[in-house]
Each structure stands twice: as C-alpha cells, then as structure tokens.
C-alpha cells in the first residue's frame, strides 16, 4: 500500500528562481528566506519519498483562459517547463508517475471530482520553483512528481472547503494504491499578497502566521473562509492558500509540525515554509 509520509508547504515566487540562478541565497535580503529550507531538504533526503503530489497553480503557461480547468491532474511520465515570458531560466524535465496518477484520477472522478486529465502539461514556476528549492542544482530527476493544478487565476475559483475535500480524496486515493511506495504532499504558493490594482503591496503577516498555526491544528477553520474573504484579508492572490489547504486535506489524524519558517516580504509576498508529519495508517 502506498503511504503518505508527510507534507511540505512552500512559496513558489518566480524571484526565488532568479535568486538561486544569481547565487544570492546568502545576501541580506534572501538569507532569512533560504535559511528556512535546510531542515526540509534534510527530511526529504532522509525519507526519500518515491513520489511527490504537488499542488500548484498555473499562471498562464499551460492553461490560457480559452480553456481553464478548475482542477487538473497530470498523468504523464515527464513534464517540461518553458519560457514564461519574463526571464526565469527554464529547468530540466520533471519525472512523472503515470500509473499512480491514473489511479488517483480514476479515484477522484469516482468520488465526484471531475478532473481535467492531462497527458501533456507544461509546468510553470508554481511547480518548478518548489522543486529547485528542495533539490538545489535541480537534482530532482529521481523523484516522481504528480502535478495537481488548482485554478487561482480566474473567478469563479474552487473554494477553500472544496480544495480541502480534493486533498482528502487524493489522500484516500493514494492509500488505496496497491504498491509499496512513499508519497510526500507539497502545497505551494501563497501566502498573503496582492499584485494587481491600487491595493497592490498588501501583506498580512498576522493572518499568514495564523493560517500556518491553523493549518497544523485546525484546518477546518480555514475551510470556513470564502475566496472573496481571503482576497479582502490578505490580498487578491491570497487564494493560493487553497493549495496549502488541499495539501492538508491529504493528511490524517494528529499532524505534527517538524519545522516552520516565515519571512516577509519576498518579492511582494509573505513566504511560509512548513514541514509536517501525520499519523500513518497501520499496515
């Protein structure tokens, strides 16, 4: 049986990729941010998950608004990054896990989540920045990644409660997979930020820290928010919290926080990292 061994949340801001490319990790601006990652890398290195299920949003690389899936899942053996238009370096191909992806897709649709199922899917910074962060030098080729894309760009967007339910359904699907593999869940993006409008520049540190607390101990509280409330409280792009909430849905029982870091601002954003474990089902 496949086991979920834990979860990681991280920001996926494009500027992080540039900072890594330009070797700025130790500069005063970036150090408090990058200092949050060694414990997570160490955990990944020790635990060696076979598969990462990664929640992210596509900011206009694979999906244009001609067809905009609410939830999409990749089922390919490999994914490619490409030029996003504003100069972050593209990264090497990402390895997929087709068989488990299809198993999850089948299970999700069976459970009422009508996914868009993708055999070809360009993955943007939402997915690639977290991989580069966790495996410096882009040494992530050995890890199989299953991309799960949540619409955070165009309203109507799935609500937090629905993303939590999606996460639960993915957790259930993974645990019903009859192969002895280990899976880690990544929730990416967020936290509070607003890029657009006269209100650009909003960051709500207090809310971000509260979200990180609740994500560990009381995720249901976060599912009570509507996307519009998230916009009002933390800024227009705070809806990316939905990827963290989806991640949390896949965990079960008592959740333990092994590590956290929060730093703001990075670019225009409050940036959080969490490393979580949960109660593993007994075999």
């Amino acid at each position: 049986m496949a086991n979920i061994i834990g979860a990681v949340t991280t920001s996926h801001i494009p500027a992080i990729a540039n900072a890594m490319a330009n070797k700025q990790e130790d500069t005063p601006y970036w150090k408090p941010f990058f200092d949050g990652y060694p414990p997570v890398r160490k955990w990944l290195n020790e635990k060696q998950p076979d598969v990462i299920v990664l929640f992210y949003n596509d900011h206009g690389l694979e999906f244009f608004i001609d067809k905009k899936p609410t939830f999409a899942i990749g089922v390919a053996d490999e994914y490619h990054n490409s030029d996003e238009g504003w100069g972050i370096a593209t990264i090497p191909p990402v390895t997929g896990e087709s068989e488990l992806s299809w198993h999850i897709a089948n299970s999700l649709v069976e459970d009422g989540f009508d996914m868009t199922i993708c055999q070809e899917m360009k993955v943007d910074h939402g997915l690639t920045v977290p991989l580069s962060l966790m495996w410096p030098g882009n040494n992530y080729g050995h890890v199989k990644v299953i991309p799960v894309c949540i619409n955070c760009e165009q309203h109507p967007m799935p609500q937090p409660w629905r993303c939590f339910e999606l996460g639960k359904a993915i957790g259930k699907a993974i645990e019903s997979y009859d192969e002895d593999i280990s899976v880690a869940i990544f929730g990416t993006g967020g936290l509070s930020h607003q890029l657009d409008g006269e209100r650009a520049g909003i960051i709500n540190r207090e809310f971000d820290l509260e979200c990180m607390d609740k994500l560990v101990s009381d995720p249901e509280a976060l599912t009570k928010y509507s996307n519009l409330e998230l916009v009002e409280i933390g800024g227009a792009q705070t809806v990316e919290l939905n990827m963290w909430i989806a991640m949390r849905g896949a965990l079960r029982g008592k959740v333990t926080e092994l590590h956290r870091n929060y730093h703001a601002p990075i670019s225009n954003t409050g940036s959080g990292v969490l490393l979580l474990e949960h109660e593993m089902p007994s075999k």
């Binding site: 608004i65 238009g85 165009q154 520049g201």
Partner: protein, 120 residues
C-alpha cells in the same frame, strides 16, 4: 474603480471574473503569446500591428502604449498576463506595484517591508 460595480466589491482590486475575462480576451491572448521570444520580437518591431492582430480595443491599445497597468486591468487584463507584458518591458513585480500605487519604486519597496513586518 470610478463606477461602483457589484462584481468588483474590493476597492483597488480588479477581480478577474467572467466579465473581465470576456472583456480582456484579446488583450490577454496577446500577452499570453509573449511566452514566446518570437512573439516578443514581433511586438517590439511593430506594437500597433501586433495589437491589431489580436483585435485589441482602442482603450486597450492606449493602455499598452502608455504602460498603464491600471488601465490594462480595467480593460480586462489579468495580472498574470499583464505581467508578461511588463516582463517584455523589463519591469518586475515591484516596478508594477509602484506604477499601480503611484509610489516611487523605493516607496513601494518600503511599503512591502512595512506590511511584511506587520507594522501596517
């Protein structure tokens, strides 16, 4: 926004909803094309011709000319696609933030620091 719009309940925020997605379709499609270097080159060579190719409205073309980020949002631009246009102009998120808020770049960066520290 000048006129109260019930689909836009958060002042200073341009929720990209169905109405905006329809209004800004050509504009966003043009900006989406900027994922390709060849498209960026073609735009730079003749911006007006490139805008015409995607059927931009007069207001949208003017906002492109003026690098008017707020104007582009009001005319249906999604910030994610507008960001690709900004990237073509070598502007980053702080540059765009400064333009939209009417602050200097340093003032906008100071605002981010202040908000990020929880002082605001």
């Amino acid at each position: 926004m000048a006129i109260k719009d019930p689909t836009q309940p958060v002042p200073g925020t341009y929720l990209f909803n169905g109405k905006m997605a329809k209004k800004g379709y050509g504009l966003n499609k043009m900006c989406y094309s900027f994922n390709e270097q060849a498209a960026r080159d073609e735009f730079n060579k003749d911006p007006d011709a490139y805008c015409a190719k995607f059927g931009l409205t007069e207001k949208q073309i003017k906002a492109i000319h003026d690098r008017d980020i707020i104007g582009l949002l009001q005319e249906g631009g999604s910030i994610y696609y507008v960001a690709k246009f900004a990237g073509l102009l070598k502007l980053n998120m702080q540059d765009i933030g400064a333009i939209q808020t009417g602050l200097s770049l340093d003032e906008f960066k100071a605002l981010l620091v202040k908000n990020g520290s929880g002082e605001a």
